[in-house]
Symmetry: C2
Subunit: 153 residues, 2 copies
């Protein structure tokens, strides 16, 4: 169960490649998000940065850093929850063209998935039918994860 991730060489490399500095503050925020097993609010993150550390992480800094990490797609903001998660693909070479999130109503765990092209197509179709275009691909869907579903015999 304990599968705690933090900033690795491959993540450091992504920062370097894009000419973005991985400062102490940014590393703190990203480490907290990568270690978390659920989405966190900006205030949660500030608190966790401060826990067991003499440093003081101001919430403002957290927001600033979240903005940057989001732009670079190291993390994502869950708009239905006002919370943040690290990207599932943060350590791999995967590119995304829009992400979808499953959010467990039981344990708040978040799963980042890619919908099948057919699924995306079906949503686009429905949108086009009423004149909408340029659909943004971020979908957030609530449900129950495999651990939180009532047991079936």
């Amino acid at each position: 169960m304990s599968d705690v991730k933090t900033v690795t060489k491959s993540v450091e490399q992504k920062f370097a490649d894009r000419g973005i500095r991985l400062t102490r503050r940014r590393r703190q925020v990203l480490d907290v998000l990568m270690s978390a097993d659920a989405a966190l609010s900006a205030y949660d993150i500030a608190e966790l940065c401060n826990a067991g550390s003499e440093s003081h992480m101001p919430t403002m800094s957290v927001y600033r850093i979240l903005d940057l990490l989001q732009e670079e797609q190291f993390i994502h903001r869950l708009e239905t929850a006002n919370k943040y998660v690290s990207c599932s693909h943060i350590a791999c070479a995967h590119e995304h063209s829009g992400s979808q999130f499953l959010i467990c109503d039981g344990c708040r765990r978040v799963e980042e998935i890619q919908l099948s092209p057919e699924a995306v197509g079906a949503v686009e179709m429905a949108a086009n039918a009423v004149g909408f275009a340029s659909i943004s691909p971020q979908l957030e869907v609530k449900g129950l994860c495999v651990d939180c579903q009532p047991e079936r015999i």
Copy 2:
């Protein structure tokens, strides 16, 4: 373009049928939402209730009333926007089994649609593939409405 709706007989009848009182405050909130051409925040609603009226609508009341109207599906809350819209089906006999919303990034207009069963099925399929079940049906998708799309020649 001006197609302002307010509480009608058929809406009044729905309240009566369900034993819910359509008080002055509730009517004010619902009228504001039905007249609006975009989603509104609770504070927007309070302000609009107060505009050109001697009465004072407290924000607390707005929230209380929004809760009720939502439970009865007269209105919906857009979770990605923290805003509220009146239900497209408020004046008809239509039942919904989950709604989907298209939100225009240009003008903030909101279109309430029903995805095709195939589209819903495709999303459910993707969720099941990673162990999620009991998917909630509310989807909010951002895009550009027909009026806000860059003109094509």
